[in-house]
């Protein structure tokens, strides 16, 4: 009893971790599954077949490629636009700044289904009804990623000490040198974080995408469609890969910063 009381926090922590990681563990496990039936989702036997033939299900790799392309482009455009917007909102005093600061939260606060259907209405009203597809998905994704980029970069920028830029200028740095040598390196972690966030938001968005996709299929849409007929095990392969990439990025970042600190100590 006494032992439980002393270690209660630890036990609860472990329980919560197990709770979060069980679905991921199932995904990893299922990527090695050799199913007897497409309709019953159970582990029937170990195989490497799914990993050796990842593109076997019809249209899955095409959908995955679409998602990657959309995610990459949406990240690129929203990060650039959002970073510029964040600089404007923090550094420049212009008319309508406070309302812009408020409005930038709207896409984050509004329900996705509302955003998606109003975008669809907009596209149709603008005469794009027949051309829904890759580009309308991209436009939609840039739109909702933008708010997250602005908010993330703005927070980083607002926390930056003004004196640092003044010190740089005092030390003979021209405005552009000040920006590239001091401001940008200090804001960069925020920009990088915003880009990673944008990619993952874009990659797994379903609701807005589904409403504005026309005949194009993204990976989440493929999974949703496949779920009606029985999910192919290769979906789990993609899921496992995505999880591993995410883990690699986090661990890689941690290792570099530890190594840097170790070198300094």
């Amino acid at each position: 009893m006494r032992w439980i009381r002393n270690n209660l926090v630890l036990l609860l922590g472990i329980a919560v971790l197990i709770y979060t990681f069980i679905p991921i563990a199932i995904v990893i496990l299922m990527s090695f599954n050799d199913p007897n039936s497409r309709l019953i989702y159970s582990f029937d036997g170990f195989t490497l077949y799914n990993w050796q033939n990842p593109c076997e299900p019809d249209g899955m790799c095409g959908a995955l490629w679409t998602s990657i392309k959309v995610g990459f482009l949406a990240t690129l455009f929203s990060t650039i636009l959002g970073t510029l917007a964040a600089f404007a909102l923090v550094r420049h005093d212009f008319q309508g700044r406070s309302s812009s600061n408020l409005l930038i939260f709207m896409p984050m606060a509004a329900p996705e289904i509302v955003m998606g259907s109003s975008l669809l209405a907009l596209f149709v009203a603008a005469g794009f009804a027949g051309q829904l597809g890759f580009w309308t998905i991209l436009i939609a994704h840039i739109m909702f990623c933008l708010s997250f980029v602005v908010v993330t970069v703005r927070a980083r920028l607002a926390g930056l000490d003004d004196n640092l830029e003044q010190a740089a200028m005092d030390l003979y740095a021209t405005p552009s040198q000040t920006f590239w040598r001091v401001t940008f390196p200090l804001v960069f972690p925020g920009i990088l974080g915003a880009a990673l966030l944008s990619f993952s938001l874009s990659f797994d968005d379903f609701i807005i995408t589904n409403l504005n996709a026309g005949n194009t299929t993204t990976f989440p849409m493929f999974v949703w469609g496949a779920a009606q007929r029985g999910v192919p095990m290769q979906v789990n392969v993609v899921g496992t890969l995505m999880f591993m990439i995410a883990i690699l990025i986090v661990v890689g970042g941690e290792v570099t910063s530890r190594r840097r600190n170790a070198k300094l100590a």
Partner: protein, 390 residues
């Protein structure tokens, strides 16, 4: 008040702007909306001097410094440095460097890179060797590869100093550079800064609100208040012969006693101070009207039993009663209530020559006339007094 700065600041015939080799501010004004932070300021800082700009917070000293650095644009007036007009020059084009109050070290660069920053921007040669030499000067050679956050406050302060000094600026600006350090570290850094200034021979302008810091370090102190310079001179000059009640109270402490001026001779002004005639040398009298404040520093006041012979050829002021005694070891601080109701502060050194007085005892006070000063009655007798010092 600005005429005080002019008369004491510039010699009778100041050098023309183009040939003056120091820093010169003329009619410098900075307004933020309706608030005037710096008001028609004239100032000459000779080359190679350690100059302190002393004043309470909000007096305009930091704004003045920032205008010299180019981080603030003057509303009007001019700044010339070694004959060059730099009033509107960009901060990165001025031969001026600043040690910021918050140090403003670049957190993403290590100590070596921080110090090398200015040299690299100017494409200097042998950067590494110079940085190494400078870090050795501030005794941080072994810390060169650490990040600023891994250093203590005092070490960060020295990095900030090294980062500015390495560029050999015409003028080094120090904005309350020791403000964030604890008392003991501050004292040792004061000595260190003074040593470095003498070593490198650059012009230092040091902004501070700490009068003790300004007096220990600077060869010239300008006391600033509400955007104008109240008085400028050597620390001893300012302390011994203040020209305004603000300076008298802000630099150390002063007893200011109301008096009526009865006679103005060529070298001596006589004042009827609460019925007692006292005299003040004419060059220490800064009062225009009939009335004035007779000023005397607490440590210049002599205290004794009634009828005792005090070492002073001046007048004896009888009728004092001790209302408070605080023994501080090296000295004893008395508060003496005078017949006219005012309490006079007296600091008596504990030399052993006189005994200690107790509360309630009757005493006589005296001082040498050459230590007294006379200030204009129109000024507020409590201006510049620091409550926490009392």
């Amino acid at each position: 008040m600005s005429q005080v700065a002019e008369t004491s600041g510039a010699p009778a015939a100041p050098a023309p702007d183009a040939s003056y080799d120091g820093l010169r501010l003329r009619n410098l004004t900075k307004s933020f909306g309706a608030f005037t932070a710096v008001d028609d300021l004239d100032l000459d800082v000779p080359r190679g001097s350690f100059f302190a700009l002393l004043g309470p917070s909000g007096c305009g000293k930091t704004t003045t410094l920032r205008m010299v650095a180019g981080l603030e644009t003057p509303t009007s007036g001019s700044i010339t440095l070694a004959g060059q007009d730099i009033t509107y020059a960009k901060p990165y084009k001025r031969p001026v460097n600043t040690v910021f109050q918050s140090y403003a070290l670049f957190p993403h660069l290590d100590i070596h890179e921080n110090v090398a920053f200015g040299l690299k921007r100017r494409k200097a040669k042998e950067v590494d060797a110079q940085v190494k030499e400078m870090l050795d000067l501030v005794e941080l050679g072994v810390q060169a590869r650490k990040r600023p956050t891994q250093l203590s406050g005092g070490q960060q302060q020295r990095v900030a100093l090294a980062r500015a000094l390495i560029n050999k600026p015409e003028v080094l600006l120090l904005d309350e550079p020791l403000g964030a350090l604890d008392l003991k570290l501050r004292r040792s850094m004061q000595i260190e800064l003074k040593r470095i200034q003498v070593d490198v021979g650059l012009t230092f302008i040091h902004v501070t609100h700490d009068q003790e810091e300004a007096m220990t370090m600077a060869d010239t102190v300008a006391v600033m208040n509400q955007g104008v310079i109240e008085q400028m001179g050597s620390p001893a000059d300012l302390y011994e012969n203040p020209r305004s009640t603000f300076v008298a109270n802000f630099l150390g402490q002063s007893n200011l006693i109301e008096g009526r001026i009865t006679n103005r001779a060529a070298d001596l002004v006589t004042v009827d101070m609460q019925g007692i005639g006292v005299s003040i040398p004419a060059d220490r009298a800064h009062a225009d009207g009939d009335m004035g404040w007779v000023g005397i520093r607490p440590e210049k006041v002599l205290i004794g039993e009634p009828g005792a012979t005090l070492d002073a050829p001046g007048n004896t002021i009888p009728g004092g009663v001790i209302s408070d005694v605080s023994f501080v070891g090296v000295s004893t601080q008395y508060l003496v209530r005078m017949p006219w109701g005012q309490e006079i502060q007296v600091f008596a050194q504990n030399t052993g020559r006189t005994r200690l007085f107790a509360q309630g005892e009757s005493v006589e006070l005296s001082w040498r006339p050459e230590y007294a000063f006379l200030l204009d009655h129109a000024q507020d007798a409590t201006a510049g007094a620091q409550k926490d010092d009392a």
